[in-house]
């Protein structure tokens, strides 16, 4: 018995030392400062995805359509902001005024596009087989890309820094930049406003009702066509704000930015449960953080591999996404 105990303790203690060493190793590996830096990078990325993902999820929630042209709306918002801010800076407007006017112009113009796309490309196909509006959406996306390509060439164009470097941010600039902060703050505000609108306003309720039961929405007197238009306008406005903020974050735009950002935001929306607004936000932040930590602790070579593996994994366990509802109707 005794040798057994000795052997046991002998085994036990070195083991616990290894364990302690492992904890220290893990702390070493994660490097708290570095962790925080990656955390903020991930949050910024998540906020960026969220601003675009909301449009996908809202439209899907209302009419069950994946609006492939949504990325292009974001791109058009960014171009509108670029053109307006360029003109205004020629006339010597102050930066804040440029920022606000560019944002207003981008929102208005992108919303007009969103509205028109729905009227022209989706509404006539409302009662067509499901595949038809989807193909129409892809067509719209290609059309808008090429339209901007012809108008603006394929070259990257510099986008002015509409967000200045704030002096008070200097001590933490190595972790969170001023644009990062603005993106985070604006996206949080936008999400709160959106939530309030959806939850409490008449339009918001009409949106929810339409999303849940379109026929019944008609029967209580909701103008469903208007609600759908408003949804496209709201989603487009969010994408336009995203376009302006993200473009000033990365400093350049071309006709193709909508496609790439759109794919990621769409992934985030699916991850969170497409059709669900909190889901889109959650999915975006999870995606942003996953990418950031995967890059930071493993390798950016596999950033996309991680992102899409995560998507597949989540969809295996929750086919409708994290906060998505599986569509079982109670009769």
């Amino acid at each position: 018995m005794v040798p057994g105990i000795v052997a046991f303790t002998g085994k036990f203690f070195p083991h616990s030392f290894t364990l302690l060493r492992n904890v220290a190793d893990i702390m070493d590996f994660f490097e708290p400062d570095y962790f925080i830096e990656l955390l903020f990078s991930g949050l910024t990325k998540g906020a960026i995805y969220a601003l675009i993902a909301l449009g996908y999820t809202m439209v899907y929630g209302i009419i069950g359509l994946i609006n492939f042209a949504h990325g292009e709306i974001y791109m058009i918002g960014a171009f509108t902001a670029l053109i307006v801010s360029t003109v205004l800076s020629i006339y010597g407007f102050p930066l804040l005024a440029i920022f606000i006017l560019a944002a207003v112009a981008a929102v208005v113009w992108a919303s007009a596009y969103g509205y028109t796309i729905e009227r022209l490309a989706y509404r006539p196909l409302r009662n067509a087989p499901r595949l038809s509006p989807l193909i129409s959406a892809i067509g719209m996306s290609i059309f808008l890309q090429n339209y901007v390509l012809l108008a603006q060439t394929s070259d990257f164009q510099p986008f002015p820094a509409l967000v200045p470097d704030f002096a008070f941010m200097e001590p933490v600039a190595h972790i969170v930049g001023s644009t990062d902060l603005v993106i985070l703050v604006v996206s949080v505000i936008v999400m709160i406003l959106l939530t309030v609108m959806i939850k409490f306003t008449r339009t918001g309720k009409a949106m929810r009702a339409t999303a849940q039961d379109k026929k019944m929405a008609l029967l209580v007197g909701i103008n469903v066509d208007n609600v759908i238009s408003i949804t496209f306008i709201t989603g487009s406005a969010l994408a336009a704000i995203g376009g302006l903020l993200i473009a000033s974050h990365v400093g350049q735009i071309n006709f193709y930015i909508g496609f790439i950002a759109g794919i990621k935001a769409f992934t985030a929306a699916v991850l969170g449960g497409i059709g669900s607004i909190p889901g889109a936000v959650l999915g975006s932040f999870i995606l942003g953080l996953t990418e950031s930590f995967a890059t930071g602790y493993v390798s950016s070579d596999y950033e996309d591999v991680f992102a899409f593996s995560l998507l597949v994994l989540i969809l295996i366990f929750r086919p409708a996404g994290l906060l998505g509802k599986s569509t079982i109707e109670k009769v």
């Binding site: 830096e37 190595h174 350049q252 930015i257």
Partner: protein
């Protein structure tokens, strides 16, 4: 920057090559003796198909140089003749093209255009003991493998930019730790890998980070944080300017002032336009500016006069090849391959790139990359 994408080359039985070569050699001897008063320059490359725009300027360049020399009485009394053969940039056709040129008794060959086609054709020329000089095949293997002693080129090989950057980082910037970032593409990743290999071979400094980023992403700040953590003294980037400007801008925004070096894909005015103030101080390799060279001007003008358009890609390189080969034949005083090779290695030739000669592996000395740096919104040569 130009790399042949389809690198598949057709392997034919060695015996067939030898047979064809022997056959060609036999006929070559007989007709060569008869027509000793002309020198034939073969020109091989894509003269039709998708890549014709890369091949045709070479034909024109050779024609212009040949006409010039013939007007002045030829080389040592012998007139020059040009023989162009199309390989459509396809390796399997390039072998036929080469066999055809060999059987026509060409003395030297300018070509081929694409690396893959060149590689496929080279054994045939080698076995026939014919010197080949490509204006555009940039694959490092062609010279470094040692398989083709008859091969020369008037363009920098793909790895030369990486070599230039690594030398600069080591000798000029005195960096100890280098981060290498690339865009995962053929061009960018290839370059990054060359840089890594060179640094590791030299063993003087250390590669502390080697990572690929996703092109087009909205944010690179995680990679930037990673660069910061690596404590690198310099970043070597393999890729194009859109990602480079995003990465540099985010580095500077995160107050990371590490030196940043890019290849010719970054030495683009759009980079400066887009990155703005953040572009200041960035290094990029690029070819030397030869637009003021008298030979560049002369042949460019001739081309424009005759064709009405600007000469396309590799035109200067083709003129350089034609001038280097003809000058070597003249200096050698013979069309004997040994003598020509000797002249190529030891005597300089005047070309649109200035005076050039060739090293033992066939790489041009005098055509290459130099380092530029952004200063006051402009790329200027680093002294």
């Amino acid at each position: 920057m130009y790399t042949e994408k389809e690198e598949h080359h057709v392997l034919k039985p060695k015996s067939l090559h030898s047979f064809l070569a022997a056959f060609a050699f036999a006929t070559g001897v007989s007709t060569g003796a008869l027509a000793a008063d002309t020198i034939t320059i073969g020109v091989a490359g894509a003269h039709s198909g998708d890549l014709a725009s890369y091949g045709l300027p070479t034909v024109k360049a050779t024609e212009l140089v040949v006409n010039d020399i013939n007007e002045q009485g030829g080389i040592n009394g012998m007139q020059l003749k040009m023989l162009a053969e199309d390989d459509v940039c396809k390796p399997e056709i390039a072998t036929n093209t080469a066999t055809k040129l060999v059987s026509e008794n060409v003395n030297v060959v300018i070509g081929h255009i694409c690396s893959g086609a060149t590689k496929a054709a080279l054994p045939i020329y080698r076995d026939a003991n014919i010197i080949v000089m490509s204006p555009s095949a940039t694959n490092p293997d062609l010279t470094q493998s040692g398989d083709y002693p008859n091969f020369y080129r008037t363009i920098a090989s793909d790895d030369l930019q990486a070599r230039t950057m690594v030398d600069f980082v080591t000798d000029k910037l005195h960096a100890q730790k280098v981060a290498i970032i690339h865009d995962k593409g053929d061009y960018g990743k290839g370059l990054a890998e060359f840089a890594k290999t060179f640094i590791e071979q030299a063993g003087k400094i250390e590669v502390v980070l080697f990572e690929g980023v996703t092109p087009g992403a909205v944010d690179y700040s995680s990679v930037v944080q990673k660069i910061k953590r690596s404590k690198a003294d310099a970043v070597i980037y393999g890729g194009y300017h859109p990602e480079a400007s995003k990465i540099v801008s985010q580095m500077r925004k995160k107050r990371l002032e590490t030196a940043f070096l890019g290849p010719d894909g970054v030495k683009d005015d759009t980079f400066i336009k887009v990155a703005g103030a953040n572009a200041e101080g960035v290094y990029a390799t690029g070819p030397a500016d030869v637009s003021q060279n008298p030979l560049t001007k002369k042949y460019r003008q001739k081309f424009i006069d005759q064709e009405g358009t600007d000469p396309g890609a590799f035109f200067n390189n083709a003129v350089a090849a034609a001038l280097a080969l003809t000058s070597a034949i003249e200096k050698a005083g013979s069309t004997d391959s040994e003598a020509i090779a000797n002249a190529l290695h030891n005597e300089t030739a005047e070309t649109p790139f200035g005076a050039i000669k060739f090293d033992a592996s066939g790489e041009p000395i005098g055509i290459g990359f130099i380092m530029y740096q952004v200063k006051n919104g402009e790329y200027v040569q680093v002294q």
